[in-house]
C-alpha cells in the first residue's frame, strides 16, 4: 500500500501531490478553526499514535497477522479533516525516517490513504452508525466496515495509479518505464491482498478500538457522532429491533428489486446449462462471450453426467407454479433469504451448545 519511489512516473507523482494539496489546505483550515491553537499538540500526538499503531502485528482469523494503517480509527475519533492531516503526518515520518513509502510518491500515498481512506472510513462510519447511541454495538460494526472499505478503496486507487503506468509511460519499444503491470493485473493483484489480510487488519483495529473506547472512554467518540447520540450510559440492546431495522428495510428493498435481474440478457459466463450446447442461439452467445471461441459440438460428458445429479426446486429462479417471472424472482429471493436466516439461526444455536459443552483452555491475565 505504501508506494515506494520509482513505481510511479514523476508526472503521476506531481498530479497526485496536486490532488492531495487542496485536501491538506481545507483540512488545515477546518482543524485550525475548530481547535484554534490546540490543533498543534493534538495532531502531533495523534500522528505519533497512528504511526505506532501501524507497527502493531494484528492477529487475523486463520492464525496469520497483518498491519493496519489506522485510517478508520483516525476518522472515527478526529473526523475526516483531522484524520487527513494526522495520517499524512504519520506517512511523512514513515517515508522520511523509515523509508516506508517514497518521497516522490508521498503525494500519491497521502491521496490514497489519508484523503480517500479517511473520507471513505468516515462516510461509511456515519452512514452505518446513524443516530445510534455512543455505546451501541452498531458503532463498532460501522467502524470495522468503514476501516475495511477504506483500505480497499485506497488499494483500488493505488492499483489504478500502478495500472495506468505501462499504458502511458513506456520507452520507444513499448517497455514499461515504471510499474509494469496493466490495470487488468494491478487491480486484482492489489485487491486480493487487501480484501483478505490488510482489510481484515484495518477492520479489526477500527472495530476493536471503538469497542474498547465505548467501554473505557466513550467521550472520545463524540466528535464524529450526531449531537443527539451523546448518551454513552444507555447503550441500545444488542440485536434490538431499532439496531437492525435499517438492515431489514434494505434487505426488503433488495428482494423487491430482484426482478431487475431479468434486464440482463443471456447467461452469465461459465453458467451454461446442458441444453445451451444444443441451442444455436445460446451457442452464439457463448462464442461471443468467449473471445469467439466456439463451444464444443457435443455436451462435455462430465458436465452432462454431473448436471443430472441434483434438480433444483426453483430452476432459473422461476418456480413452475408461477407464470409471472417477476413474482418468481421475488419468491425465490424470499425463499433464499429465509433459508440463509434459518441456516444461521441453526448454526448459532449449535455454536452456543458447543461452547457450553466445552471447557475453555486455561488462560488468565494476572492483575
Amino acid at each position: 500500500m505504501h508506494i515506494p519511489d520509482g513505481y510511479l512516473s514523476p508526472s503521476t507523482c506531481a498530479v497526485m501531490y496536486a490532488g492531495a494539496a487542496p485536501f491538506w489546505l481545507v483540512a488545515l483550515r477546518r482543524v485550525q478553526a475548530m481547535l484554534h491553537a490546540r490543533y498543534v499538540p493534538l495532531l502531533s500526538l495523534f500522528s505519533a499514535f497512528s504511526f505506532v499503531v501501524m507497527m502493531f502485528n494484528l492477529p487475523l482469523p486463520g492464525g496469520t497477522t497483518g498491519h493496519a494503517v489506522g485510517m478508520g480509527v483516525a476518522a472515527v475519533v478526529l473526523g475526516p479533516w483531522g484524520a487527513i492531516l494526522a495520517i499524512s503526518l504519520a506517512l511523512a515520518i514513515q517515508a522520511v525516517l523509515f523509508g516506508d513509502g517514497g518521497i516522490t510518491a508521498y503525494g500519491a500515498n497521502c491521496f490514497n490513504m489519508a484523503v480517500v481512506g479517511s473520507l471513505t472510513a468516515w462516510a461509511v462510519y456515519r452512514l452505518i452508525s446513524g443516530r445510534s447511541a455512543l455505546g451501541s454495538p452498531r458503532r463498532a460494526v460501522a467502524a470495522a466496515l468503514g476501516g475495511y472499505l477504506a483500505i480497499n478503496v485506497s488499494a483500488l486507487c493505488a492499483a489504478v495509479e500502478f495500472g495506468i503506468q505501462p499504458r502511458w509511460f513506456h520507452d520507444a519499444n513499448g517497455v514499461p518505464l515504471y510499474a509494469p503491470y496493466p490495470l487488468a493485473v494491478a487491480v486484482p493483484a492489489m485487491l486480493i491482498g487487501h480484501l483478505t489480510f490488510a482489510g481484515l487488519a484495518e477492520g479489526i483495529l477500527s472495530g476493536g478500538v471503538v469497542r474498547y473506547l465505548q467501554r473505557a472512554d466513550p467521550a472520545l467518540l463524540r466528535t464524529t457522532a450526531p449531537e443527539n447520540a451523546t448518551d454513552p450510559l444507555q447503550p441500545q440492546p444488542a440485536g434490538g429491533w431499532r439496531t437492525v431495522r435499517p438492515l431489514w428495510i434494505a434487505l426488503a428493498v433488495l428482494m423487491i428489486a430482484t426482478p431487475l435481474g431479468l434486464l440482463a440478457a443471456g447467461t452469465a459466463w461459465g453458467e451454461w446449462g446442458v441444453e445451451d450446447f444444443s441451442n444455436p442461439e445460446a451457442r452464439q452467445h457463448i462464442a461471443a462471450a468467449s473471445a469467439q471461441v466456439a463451444p464444443p459440438d457435443a455436451v462435455p460428458s462430465g458436465l452432462e453426467r454431473l448436471a443430472s445429479l441434483w434438480t433444483a426446486p426453483m430452476p432459473d429462479y422461476a418456480p413452475a407454479f408461477l407464470k409471472s417471472r417477476s413474482l418468481g424472482y421475488i419468491l425465490s429471493a424470499m425463499f433464499g433469504v429465509g433459508s440463509i436466516l434459518l441456516a444461521w439461526l441453526a448454526a448459532g444455536w449449535a455454536a452456543r451448545r458447543l461452547r457450553g459443552s466445552h471447557n475453555r483452555p486455561p488462560s488468565a491475565t494476572l492483575v
Binding site: 515506494p4 493534538l42 499514535f49 499503531v53 507497527m55 502485528n57 522520511v96 525516517l97 517497455v175
Partner: protein, 289 residues
C-alpha cells in the same frame, strides 16, 4: 484466580507446545517490532552525529541536492544514469561514515524483497523476445520483461538509498528546518517535529504495554483474545495520546504559545554548501539530459 488456572500456572512451562509458543509469539512479535523501530531511529540519530562528508554540509543544501538526485533517478529512462546515481550515493555513504553493510544493507534487502517480489512476474508476463528459459517451469524470460524489472528494482533501490542517506546524515531537527526551503509550511514543520518527539514516547509506552501483558499472561491466548489484547492496547494508547496532547497544550500555553509558530534558523549557508549544492544539481541535470 480459579483453582484450575492456579494449578496450570504452577506447572513448568510446556516448552515446544505450539499453542503456547504461538500465543507468546504474538506479544513477543509486537515487543520486538516496536523495539526494532526504536533501535532503527536511535541508530540513524547516532550516524547523523558522526564526522563525515555529508554531516558537514548545511541540511538545506543536502535536502535540495538529494531530492534533485531522487527526481533524476525517478525521471530518467536510462539504466546507466540510475546505476551512476546509485554508485555515487554509495560513495557518499562511505565518505560520510555511514555503515554500508548494516544500515544501507538493511534498506537494500527490504527493497529487494518487496520490489523484487513485485517485479519478478514481469520477467515472464511482459510480452517480447525470450532471452532464456527457466528449467522445470518452462517459462520464458523476455527481454522487455527483464528490462522493466531491472528498471523497477534499480530505481527503487537507488531512491531508497538516497532517502536513507539523507536521514542517516542529518539529525531530524535539522532536516525539518531544511524542509522549509522546499516550501513546506511552518506549521507542518513544527507538528512533524513534535510528532517525532512524542513518537518515541508512544513507541516506548506501547512496548511497555505489550511487555507488561506478556509478563502477566498465564496460559495461551486464542486468536480472538489476541485480537482483543492488540485492540485494547491501541485503545489505551489512543486515550493516553489524547490526554497527553491536552497536557502538552497546557504546557505550551504556560510558555506563551498562542497559535503563532516560530522557528529558530541558526544554520549558516557557507561557500562549500553552495558548491556542494551546485554539484548535486549538476549531476542531476546531466542525468536528465
Amino acid at each position: 484466580m480459579g483453582r484450575q488456572t492456579f494449578a496450570w500456572f504452577t506447572q513448568p512451562p510446556a516448552v515446544g507446545d505450539p499453542r503456547l509458543s504461538k500465543a507468546a509469539g504474538f506479544l513477543e512479535r509486537n515487543v520486538v517490532a516496536l523495539a526494532k523501530t526504536l533501535d532503527h531511529a536511535a541508530r540513524a540519530d547516532e550516524t547523523a552525529r558522526r564526522r563525515g562528508l555529508l554531516q558537514k554540509l548545511d541540511p538545506r543544501a543536502k535536502c535540495v541536492g538529494i531530492f534533485a538526485w531522487i527526481l533524476a533517478a525517478a525521471a530518467t529512462s536510462r539504466l546507466a544514469v540510475v546505476g551512476t546515481i546509485f554508485a555515487l550515493a554509495v560513495a557518499l555513504a562511505v565518505l560520510s561514515a555511514v555503515p554500508v553493510r548494516t544500515s544501507l544493507g538493511r534498506v537494500w534487502t527490504g527493497v529487494l524483497v518487496f520490489t523484487g517480489s513485485i517485479a519478478l512476474p514481469a520477467l515472464f508476463l511482459t510480452p517480447g523476445a525470450p532471452v532464456c528459459r527457466i528449467p522445470l517451469l518452462e517459462w520464458n524470460v523476455t527481454a522487455p520483461g527483464l528490462l522493466a524489472a531491472t528498471r523497477l528494482v534499480g530505481r527503487a533501490e537507488t531512491t531508497a538509498t538516497l532517502a536513507a542517506l539523507l536521514v542517516l546524515t542529518t539529525p531530524w531537527t535539522h532536516l525539518l528546518k531544511a524542509l522549509r526551503t522546499l516550501r513546506v509550511p511552518k506549521t507542518a514543520v513544527v507538528i512533524l517535529g513534535m510528532t517525532h518527539r512524542y513518537l518515541f514516547l508512544l513507541l516506548g509506552l506501547a512496548r511497555d504495554y505489550f511487555e507488561a501483558r506478556r509478563s502477566r499472561q498465564v496460559g495461551r491466548l486464542d486468536n480472538a483474545q489476541r485480537r482483543h489484547a492488540a485492540t485494547a492496547t491501541a485503545g489505551v494508547l489512543l486515550g493516553r495520546s489524547l490526554a497527553l496532547s491536552d497536557e502538552v497544550f497546557m504546557a505550551m500555553r504556560a510558555r506563551g504559545f498562542r497559535g503563532e509558530v516560530h522557528l529558530l534558523q541558526d544554520a549558516r549557508f557557507r561557500t562549500r554548501d553552495g558548491l556542494a549544492l551546485a554539484a548535486f544539481v549538476a549531476v542531476a541535470a546531466l542525468g536528465l539530459l
